[in-house]
């Protein structure tokens, strides 16, 4: 039972970054901008938040006010991601550039920038930023006894502030998308920007909003990933930005389905990492490097799903097409 609790707990902690970043992608694509730069945005968010956490730790303030320090770091990650995503928004919206190429540039820039900066700050060859251990929420925070029961493992084994933050952001995303005029306007810009413009919606401003919100969520997702991995930040988010794109497509650009597909992908990632200690999985006797097999599966499943669903895909119709007022 403890194994099951551990797996569920790990699945949650890995689903959090996927959920956040895929929701980010959803905002951007509903506004009409393909955000392939999510990977890079995550790296920048994680970089800034990791430095913030390190700073709080060495100042001594972090260990006495762990969750406030964590909340501030999450905000820093979000704002950093937002600032970085301005580069994409500017190229895609103002300059009407090719969104995929612009995004690729940001994806190459971010990890390189992270390595160069950490190297310069921490000294030669020290490219990993250590994350302090006080950020974990324990039973003691709620005045409970530490234990090893099922619920203890399920809830507290990998419990960080990023999880409740993600739940709140998820609820906000659902309300914003379907219950407010902002959501309706945003979606209109991704479906038919000319029509949106004709009823007085500022398409450029809405697209900026979409990209910037996705930058914020991408940045928060970056630090959520770094915390989930647990071995510190070393200038990479392990392809989770790209995986989040797959989660978003798999989730049909809709918040609730994205939640489900984030959990699905996270489960496969966890199984890949812990396949040897799981008794119920097929053993594939004699096969070496089984983790590669399990890590490959989510990508293959995504491809199969895409092939079968693309005909009735719910992708925003105008995504990837720069909006030109003159074509109205």
């Amino acid at each position: 039972m403890t194994v099951l609790a551990n797996i569920l707990s790990l699945t949650i902690v890995f689903a959090v970054p996927l959920l956040l970043v895929a929701l980010g992608g959803m905002y951007s694509e509903h506004s009409g901008v393909i955000n392939i730069a999510l990977e890079g945005i995550m790296v920048i968010g994680a970089l800034c938040a990791s430095f913030a956490l390190k700073g709080f730790d060495s100042a001594g303030w972090g260990s006495t006010h762990p969750q406030i320090a964590m909340l501030i770091s999450i905000l820093i990650a979000g704002v950093a991601g937002m600032v970085f995503s301005i580069l994409l928004a500017f190229a895609a919206i103002n300059l009407r550039a090719d969104q995929t190429i612009g995004g690729t540039a940001l994806n190459i820039f971010a990890p390189a920038f992270a390595v160069v900066v950490t190297w310069a700050v921490q000294g030669q060859g020290l490219t990993t930023i250590q994350i302090p251990t006080w950020i974990r929420i324990t039973q003691a925070n709620f005045g409970l006894e530490a234990g090893n029961g099922f619920l203890d493992s399920l809830i507290f084994k990998y419990f960080y502030l990023t999880t409740p933050v993600a739940i709140v952001l998820f609820i906000i995303a659902w309300i914003l998308m379907y219950k407010t005029s902002f959501g309706l306007r945003l979606r209109a810009c991704g479906e038919h920007p000319q029509a949106a413009d004709s009823v007085g919606i500022n398409v450029y401003r809405m697209r900026y909003a979409g990209v910037l919100i996705s930058g914020f969520l991408g940045g928060v997702g970056g630090i959520a990933y770094t915390i989930a991995v647990g071995s510190g930040f070393s200038a990479s988010v392990g392809g989770y930005g790209f995986l989040a794109l797959a989660v978003m497509i798999f989730g049909n650009w809709k918040p609730i389905q994205i939640l489900g597909s984030a959990a699905f992908f996270a489960l496969f990632k966890v199984i890949a990492a812990y396949n040897s200690s799981l008794p119920f999985l097929p053993k594939f006797e004699g096969l070496k490097d089984k983790s590669s097999l399990y890590q490959m599966l989510p990508y293959i499943v995504t491809m199969i799903v895409l092939v079968f669903t693309s005909k009735k895909s719910q992708a925003p119709k105008a995504e990837g097409i720069p909006y030109d007022k003159g074509t109205r």
Binding site: I36, L87, A91, L95, R96, A97, D98, T100, I101, G102, T104, A105, L106, I108, F109, P111, A112, F113, V115, V116, V117, W119, A120, Q124, G125, T127, A235, S236, G238, G239, F242, L245, A246, I249, L287, K288, D289, S292, L293, Q295, M296, Y299, I300, T302, M303, L306, V307, S310, K311, S313
Partner: protein, 367 residues
């Protein structure tokens, strides 16, 4: 007759736009180095810009790395001409390297057969984005990104289960990489043809850069002088119009991606059959394929331009690794990223440049 100003010549404008991108990229890279470590920034940037010419050995390394870069650049550029963004060059490159190494080590084949295998491996990996786009209308960028990861995990999985492929089967102790070709099959090493004598006994140099240049000329010929190339370009410019003109757009999309895949695959073969580098089983995607993107963008997807842009990217990469220990060698990637970013709105830049050149041309005439 009205005299044409140089602003009307698209080739001149393209080259100018590329040069501006390079200069801005280097400048921003230098500014970042200045902010991070003012006292060492000068040494850093000069290392990036001079190391490639500092010795014949280093220059040999520039040429050696330029070959796979050129092929990945040709691959991305070829797909661009058909209106496709081939971000999957990395996966195709990985598969090409795998096929070449299996031919070389497992089946003990000579180098030229291994290179053909590399093209087949890359071509197979190019089928997926092309076919899924044509048949199921799945965005080729998404397919290609997924298949980059699938290629990496699949090659790791297969190599881990092919004991003869690993260095440990050939007298070395490590099992995390493929066997050294000098031990496993010297006939699979791409010949040096005496070039190493010319390059001060450089271990890097071989004939691969010349193979790559020949392929670049061949691709230029296909695109410029054949009906097939014309159809591909027509598809890239306007898919609907070309379909109306009787061109089978779906067939061309698939074919174009297969050829693009074969080019990247050949790049993987050239890199790993040189005998100097062994394939290491890592959990991250190989960067070479992604670096094909700036090569293609700088060359404006022109196959002949790719020869020069790949030499330049290879040159600053060799220089970048000489920036250590003052700076991390990733500083080069920052320059490359800026170049790609600027290339994203190259159309706008070219329009501005063209207008600027025309205006100065007119003023000259008045005076």
């Amino acid at each position: 007759m009205k005299k044409k100003s140089i602003g009307d010549n698209p080739a001149v404008v393209s080259i100018l736009a590329s040069i501006i991108s390079i200069v801005v990229g280097l400048l921003l890279g230098f500014i970042l180095l200045l902010i991070l470590n003012p006292s060492k920034a000068g040494i850093g940037i000069s290392a990036m810009l001079t190391t490639g010419f500092s010795s014949m050995d280093q220059f040999g390394k520039v040429l050696y790395q330029a070959a796979p870069l050129m092929l990945c650049g040709l691959s991305v550029g070829f797909a661009f001409k058909t209106g496709l963004f081939n971000i999957g060059a990395s996966g195709q490159y990985t598969m090409g390297a795998f096929f070449a190494l299996v031919g070389a080590i497992q089946f003990q084949l000579p180098w030229f057969v291994c290179l053909i295998l590399a093209m087949i491996g890359g071509g197979i990996w190019g089928i997926f984005p092309g076919l899924f786009k044509a048949k199921f209308n799945v965005n080729e960028v998404i397919t290609a990104i997924m298949f980059n990861w699938i290629a990496m995990f699949l090659v790791n999985l297969l190599l881990a289960n092919m004991p003869t492929m690993l260095a440990s089967a050939w007298g070395a102790s490590n099992s995390d990489r493929t066997a050294a070709l000098a031990k496993a099959n010297p006939a699979a090493v791409i010949p040096k043809a005496g070039l190493n004598k010319l390059f001060g006994n450089s271990s890097w140099i071989n004939i691969s850069v010349f193979i790559a240049i020949l392929v670049a000329i061949l691709i230029w010929f296909i695109l410029q002088k054949t009906t097939f190339g014309y159809e591909l370009k027509a598809c890239g410019m306007n898919k609907e119009a070309s379909r109306y003109a009787g061109i089978n757009a779906n067939r061309n999309i698939v074919l174009s991606m297969i050829i693009a895949g074969a080019l990247s695959g050949l790049g993987g073969g050239l890199y790993y059959l040189a005998g100097t580098i062994q394939y290491v089983l890592v959990k991250s995607i190989l960067a070479m394929g992604f670096n094909g993107i700036p090569v293609a963008l700088l060359a404006n997807s022109n196959p002949l331009g790719t020869i020069f842009s790949s030499l330049f990217i290879s040159f600053i990469q060799v220089g970048g690794s000489a920036m250590q220990p003052n700076f991390s060698s990733e500083a080069t990637d920052i320059v490359i990223a800026v170049i790609i970013y600027l290339a994203a709105f190259s159309l706008l830049m070219k329009m501005v440049l063209s207008n600027l050149l025309k205006r100065t041309g007119k003023e000259d005439k008045k005076a």
